[in-house]
């Protein structure tokens, strides 16, 4: 990505871009301010952000917006596990190996929050974490695990849905370490999937989750008591189908067109699906106040 490409791309969608960029002094001022806090390697993010400000756009088309979106989800998850570990209603049930596992997951979510905050620097928005109210989520061990499953599975879908919005060359340097942002997003994404699998495994214990048939992976669009939207289609549905999807890469039915016959259960479980940010945010706001 370079500056000239960006301008020529912008000219395609907005022929008056050069007029607008007479305001580019302020955009470049913002850039200069940022560059004090971010290494040169992070310039693509800073540039994207500066132009977004100049254009007045609020999309996830640049890495800064994607990272702030990821930060919101990680803050939500970290807050969720922190509140669960402190909830008096769970002290008798969230014990032993279960508590240790949740502490492990909480630790990862905090690490994600810290990493994203550091990468974003002064671009972190909002600067401070919102306060999250999870309602009756911690009323019982079962309800806690159901929420945990919903958040982890949604998190996996959310990261996957943004993979194409992070240029594969975008990077940031922190304390001498250069991070490729797409790689970092993928590395967080698979950790969320590990969490999701474990939480589902915890629910498999009948006394813990009352879901004796649940698997560590998502079969069809089965919600197992979590909100159905977590496993439903996003927008556009062609890009973000429901988890029951059996069509991939232009092959319309993987159950019958691969030379062997597979069940829809197995095909749907073999691929996780992405989800757009609007649908993810709607799901989050349906169960959490923030």
């Amino acid at each position: 990505m370079n500056l000239f490409n960006i301008i020529s791309e912008l000219e395609k969608v907005d022929p008056e871009i050069m007029d607008r960029l007479t305001h580019r002094r302020s955009a470049l001022n913002a850039l200069g301010d940022l560059s004090k806090k971010m290494a040169l390697a992070a310039a693509p993010i800073a540039i994207g952000s500066a132009f977004n400000k100049a254009m007045g756009q609020q999309t996830l088309a640049d890495p800064t917006a994607v990272l702030n979106y990821a930060l919101l989800l990680e803050r939500l998850e970290y807050s969720f596990y922190t509140q669960a570990l402190a909830a008096p209603t769970l002290t008798a049930t969230l014990t032993g190996a279960a508590r240790t596992a949740i502490q492990t997951i909480q630790g990862h979510e905090l690490a994600h929050v810290n990493l994203l905050t550091a990468v974003l620097g002064s671009n972190a928005s909002p600067a401070q974490s919102p306060t999250f109210n999870f309602g009756s989520a911690f009323a019982t061990y079962q309800s806690f695990l159901t929420f945990a499953q919903a958040f982890e599975d949604t998190g996996v879908r959310a990261y996957k849905g943004q993979a194409g919005n992070i240029p594969r060359t975008a990077s940031a340097t922190l304390s001498g370490t250069t991070y490729n942002l797409l790689t970092v997003a993928l590395q967080i994404h698979s950790v969320e999937a590990r969490h999701a699998a474990h939480v589902r495994y915890m629910r498999r214990d009948a006394t813990a989750g009352a879901q004796t048939t649940i698997m560590p992976w998502i079969v069809n669009a089965d919600s197992n008591g979590a909100p159905a939207a977590v496993y439903g289609a996003g927008n556009p549905a062609a890009t973000f189908p429901a988890e029951s999807n059996i069509s991939q890469g232009g092959i319309t039915s993987l159950t019958t067109m691969l030379g062997a016959t597979y069940t829809a259960d197995d095909v749907s479980a073999a691929f996780d699906e992405g989800l757009d940010n609007t649908t993810v945010t709607t799901i989050a706001r349906s169960v959490v106040t923030f």
Partner: protein, 239 residues
């Protein structure tokens, strides 16, 4: 500005010629690995001791096709492994374990067959052949050995996909890789919990920054080579 990564008709994207020029960055990233991989390639020319086996060298190719072949090779390995696990279950396998491992074996077979179909559609002359697995070092009757090998394959798969993501040019393929890698991560977490409860995201795979592994092609192939008779050359994957 980066929307072009996910936009565009899937089919058109899929059918596009997959020529990819060598990127300077990836050249430097892998320049160091080339020497070792060349040695691997040459070692494929040495005479082979295992009677009757055909120890050819298989090149994964370059660009996105190289990445797809890379994934296809790994999925072939995983699918063959779990097929053996299900055909000769380890001593003491529980009903629950058999159900889950059977599902995993199906997922891997679907991944394998999907890549075969996708690469055949996109680049019919560049698809790698079926590989010959070598699981002679694994005692399939022993639960710990089987699950340890499964853990190795799953964690390796996750690290491989995570490392390959930034090598992929096509947004369509990147999303497909993303759809698969999280399922591999779910497998990894399950297998790890079977071996050691609570080790689903242990510190040997998830670092202090909360990041899973992202492995270079050469590292993955060096680990996978133990279980594949053909010598795999991944020098140009993603270039």
């Amino acid at each position: 500005m980066s929307n072009n990564l996910i936009k565009g008709s899937d089919e058109a994207e899929f059918a596009k010629p997959l020529y990819v020029p060598i990127k300077r960055r990836s050249f430097f990233m892998y320049a160091g690995a080339t020497a070792g991989a060349t040695a691997l390639l040459l070692s494929g020319c040495d005479d082979d001791d295992s009677g009757g086996s055909n120890s050819n060298s298989v090149s994964l190719g370059s660009g996105d096709v190289g990445v797809l072949n890379y994934a296809y090779a790994l999925e072939q390995l995983e699918a063959a492994f779990y097929a053996q696990v299900i055909a000769t279950p380890y001593t003491g396998i529980t009903t629950d374990e058999r159900t889950a491992l059977t599902a995993i074996s199906k997922h891997e077979a679907i991944h394998r067959d999907f890549f075969k179909a996708a690469i055949t559609a996109a680049a019919p002359t560049q698809i790698i052949p079926g590989l010959t697995p070598d699981f002679s070092k694994i005692n399939f009757a022993d639960r710990t050995q089987v699950l340890t090998a499964a853990k190795t394959f799953e964690d390796l798969g996750v690290g491989a996909y995570n490392g390959a993501g930034a090598l992929i040019q096509s947004g369509t393929y990147l999303l497909l890789a993303g759809k698969i890698v999280s399922v591999e991560a779910r497998h990894a977490a399950y297998i790890r919990d079977l071996l050691t409860p609570g080790s689903f995201s242990g510190s040997d795979v998830v670092n202090a920054a909360g990041l899973d592994q992202a492995l270079p092609v050469a590292t993955v192939l060096a680990a996978a080579q133990t279980y594949i008779k053909e010598t795999i050359n991944g020098d140009n994957v993603g270039k």
